[in-house]
Symmetry: none
Subunit: 190 residues, 4 copies
DNA sequence: ATATAATCGAGACGGTACGTCCCGTCTTGCA
DNA sequence: TGCAAGACGGGACGTACCGTCTCGATTATAT
């Protein structure tokens, strides 16, 4: 009934191969076939764990960073946001950016995967900011009643630029975005 | 030097087939092969015009709407933005939304295509809003010096939701977004 | 190291389809695509076994007849040759003739394939006649020292007519050819 | 009624291109498309003159050699045949051999082309040998009643080796073949 | 001199096959 | 049961030629 247990080294090899291949040939050039070949694993073994290359990448990325982003208390919402966004933007350069965009591509065409992505990655990031907003609200800096909208204002421009011009995600951009969000948060809904 | 001229009816048939197939089977189910088959055209003929299904869809979409979006003068930046965004969001439902998301997916994985998309579609939309901002600036409603940032604030949340949750793009969302952008525009960069 | 073994039924289906298609549409109308389609097999599976339609046909033909042609001992070289050539010529009518000519056409344009054809088919047939010659030599009927030349004399005219006028390969032609070869074999090289 | 006359330079360019391409890439690599491209002529212009690449090559070859092969009177059939075959075999090396084999490949799969080839090339060569036989018959060297069969005996082995092993067509081979044919020609049909 | 008519280059067009890649599933034998 | 190996049906890829077609520009003869 129990049989031979799954080899954890195999899990690691698969994720590793997926990341490496994406780095070298882009997400376009990534395939289940290629992952199996590079990791020295049979296709069956890959399919036993993941249903698509998207899931592999998502798993690889979820175990990486972003889960433990800094949410330092700088004393002001604007300061907190600036710190968080600067760190987040920095984390979107290089392979991480490529992988993130790849996941977006996948989500856009697959409702089920979108839900998975939201839960595993997007929601986690939103939660971080939600904490900042709560803290700001306690301080009296946040009058705007709709957290969800404010979160969109934070992450919308990031994804927009991540899609079309990742290099634009500079510390200066982070600062300006933080300032704007803080401004909107301070206002009330009319 | 001259040669037989390209048949415009063929152009039309190709774009038509691409849109129809996407509508029926999703962008996933769209293929150069399928486009050729449905339009009654040889593959070669499709490849003569477009290098990928993404380019077909982009061309089909670029010739559609959005190029002549309404930019009515309501007397205030907030009003103008509300009108434009409401119309834009409405245009993102149904096939148009699917096609737009497909283009995003494509751009995300292909830098060259991203540039093409920006030029043919994104830039055009940004231009519309830039006009609104100029008008607002003339009225004294815009103190923020960076148009580009304000444009990101307008379109960022739209793409964010377009990627992960298209249904959220309601008229109410448009109104709230317009209000926030107008608020930020009114402020100066410190 | 092992992997799933190849299905022998697939081998059979492929060869079968190749022969059937050639019979119906000629070798011109035969294609790897068509073979795959008719045999209900994927193209990949065909290509896994054969590199060209020529190889398929060759394999189909090699497994057929000719490998075990009759070499009855009639008591004389001339009689033996007559029997063998009559049977061989008879086997060259219908599909077999078409397939044989097709192989010739292929060999003519591809040195590597020519070598393969020689090894799998031509050499086998030559071996049959070589046995006849050896028998004749034992009987004192063969004085000519060069077996290879005599073999060319036997099969040369057959291929010549097979190429340009297959209908000429009658029993009478076989008898006359046998007589001539026996005559040359009896003489010595001066 | 008359219109613009065909440019003879174009004819020449087409044949030239066909021969060059076959020499470089083999008959396999020859195509109507390629001929047009290399000769700097439109496809239409090629098709106006020839229906297939086979016809181009045939025309190119027919205008070359073989039409005026030497038929010197050496005083004996065996001598005459040796001279003719030695010259013929020599002419089958290099490009000429390739082109000849190409024509055979074409003929084998196209009855109409086979007839054309026979008429334009094969029959001419047979006629040369027929003259030799007539001369021998006058001298009393030929008792065999069937010229056609003797011709097959002459050219059969040549084509056989041309197909499978062109290098075998040496002067020694020519001499041995001439000797054998002369021997058979001297005998009577029983 | 001016139709008339065929030739020529360029290149679009519907079509067929090519040979390759990857999909997701399966079968085998070993651990 | 996990796992490497690899066969399998399926579908799309992008390319090469096929033979036909439509252009505009020439070059002849026949009015």
């Amino acid at each position: 009934m129990t049989g031979r247990p799954r080899d954890p080294a195999v899990d690691e090899a698969i994720r590793r191969a997926a990341v490496d291949l994406t780095e070298q040939h882009g997400y376009r050039g990534l395939s289940m076939e290629g992952i199996a070949a590079l990791s020295g694993v049979s296709k069956q073994t890959v399919y036993r764990r993941y249903r698509s290359k998207g899931e592999v990448v998502l798993d690889a990325l979820a175990g990486y960073a972003f889960t433990h982003l800094p949410t330092p208390d700088t004393g002001s919402l604007r300061g907190d946001l600036t710190a968080l966004l600067t760190a987040t933007f920095a984390g979107q350069q290089g392979v991480n950016g490529t992988l993130n965009r790849a996941l977006a591509a996948e989500a856009v065409q697959d409702q089920a995967f979108a839900a998975l992505l939201w839960e595993k990655l997007i929601a986690v990031r939103r939660e971080s900011v939600r904490e900042l907003l709560a803290r700001g609200r306690a301080r009296g800096e946040v009058a705007h009643p709709d957290d969800e909208f404010l979160l969109d204002l934070v992450y919308g421009p990031m994804w927009y630029r991540l899609l079309f011009d990742p290099a634009a995600l500079t510390p200066a951009y982070a600062a300006e975005l933080a300032r704007s969000v803080a401004l909107v948060a301070a206002g009330t809904r009319p």
